[in-house]
Symmetry: C2
Subunit: 302 residues, 2 copies
């Protein structure tokens, strides 16, 4: 089984996780949590989103979060931006990298962004152009790359076409989101067989939700195909608020376990991650559900 | 990705699940649950164990369970036996198939069976010989095939040697148990690359525990290597009482989801399984933790 020697884990919990949490976390506590994550060896943290607070009130304090955290050299602190207004707020707040987002399915895009795909593309093009002109790298998120909650299966060809539009705009990396957590390894293989030859494994990341327990199986298949960048969320926080039945992202610590057991380098220390997980549990007032946190709690109890 | 067209799921919950449950389930309730499982399309159910009740009091009613269930044609109702005495009780109770068991690691075998590997082999040989003479098929369970809780990694060569001894005795199928749930797909590949050429994929089954969330990833790799028989436990019940940190078997319904999404035939109906899962939850007075049961409960709540 041929596997990459190194993998980059991009922690999206502070954005993709907290945007779905009914429980409000204060700016100070968010910053404390992000600072704890910064101590774990992660090299990339998506800290917030500059989407209008009307849509995501949980992240209304985006600029304050960015100014409150202790930035550690070598870590990219990124944020999601929906349009030029959001981009300017993110640039003013001194973000390292911005992410733009859309869906591969027309109806999920409409539900999530309130625009058709054709209407979304020029908006993203403006953002990417301006961000690049400001010297920032740009990440694209494409969701529903395997299936859409409204339309069912999405073809690799459809994903390929929209991915090409995004790369043509100048994005540096594309994160392929399996938004509703229905995929199994053969689906991942069919998709990546189309995308990798065209866009290269070095510019693609996979973003799996673990709704049906298949995320690690899908990541294992992605690794075999040469993908070496994965999004995940500490404690499995997160999910898409506009996709019925979508539950959390794959848990960073469970992904880390698998990578470590495969002998793949990540630079991340499990113990530090689990401490950050326990902090988040105390801030949210509930248990998170990763296997590693369960084992950690059992070990602590003796 | 080459996958088998059909897979046999062997449900081990009534034995491997219940033997680890602190909550006592009555014989009548066990039989009601097994009858519900029989309605799901499963073709194999391991219903109990004839290990001495001193060791596993939860299954002291083995013979009564077998006489209380409604046997459905086409289903194999199997039971675990530790020795000739257990075999005779199982034969008297009219079991369809018996399973014998041992470990690939010396210290786990000692802890689990209270005998060395060398002392265990002749005992199993007697059982297998007598069972075959009685016209029964015999399944072997070999545990700790990837790692042992006391010794760490177990080599494929060690597993190969003991497997050869078991097949030489006349067992019909060998179930390879990843007892402590630490394996990742490359471990599975290394093991099966040694075992399949020697014993054939048609005579090997995989038995994964999902302690670290990697069971479906390991099953996906096993499928690619040609394995088409898997053990699982409804609701993820079970675990090994003598292996520290070992938690439940992979959940039958989560395995079924993955197989169905891969287009693999199993003959099992998800809805019937989930109903059996809800029955078990009410009998145990606690929630089971599979993804499919969680989604089912969410859907029922609307």
């Amino acid at each position: 089984m041929k596997l990459p020697e190194k993998v980059i884990i991009k922690e999206v919990g502070p954005r993709d996780g907290l945007q779905n949490e009914p429980h409000q976390v204060s700016t100070e506590n968010k910053a404390a949590w992000i600072d704890r994550l910064s101590e774990s060896g992660l090299s990339y943290i998506e800290v917030t989103s500059f989407v209008h607070p009307k849509w995501i009130p949980q992240l209304a304090d985006a600029a304050e979060v960015l100014s409150s955290i202790q930035r550690k050299p070598g870590i990219t602190y990124a944020a999601l931006v929906p349009n030029r207004h959001g981009l300017r707020r993110a640039l003013d707040a001194g973000v390292d990298e911005v992410s733009v987002f859309m869906s591969a399915s027309e109806s999920h895009n409409k539900n999530n962004i309130n625009k058709s795909i054709a209407e979304t593309l020029p908006v993203l093009k403006e953002v990417v152009t301006e961000a690049k002109a400001s010297g920032k790298t740009v990440r694209g998120y494409l969701s529903t790359v395997i299936a859409c909650p409204y339309e069912g299966a999405i073809s690799p060809e459809q994903v390929r076409e929209i991915s090409a539009r995004l790369f043509d705009m100048g994005i540096d990396e594309l994160s392929l989101g399996e938004t509703i957590g229905v995929a199994v390894p053969p689906d991942v293989e069919r998709l990546l067989e189309v995308l990798i030859p065209e866009f290269s494994n070095d510019r693609l990341a996979m973003h799996f939700h673990d709704t049906r327990g298949t995320a690690l199986a899908n990541i294992s298949k992605s690794l075999e195909m040469g993908i070496h960048t994965f999004d995940s969320s500490l404690g499995g926080l997160g999910g898409c608020p506009y996709a019925k039945g979508a539950s959390g992202n794959v848990a960073t610590e469970d992904l880390l376990y698998m990578l470590q057991a495969m002998g793949i380098e990540t630079g991340i220390q499990m113990e530090r991650l689990l401490e950050a997980g326990e902090l988040m549990e105390s801030l949210l007032g509930r248990s998170l559900t990763s296997r590693q946190l369960e084992l950690y709690r059992k070990a602590e109890r003796g």
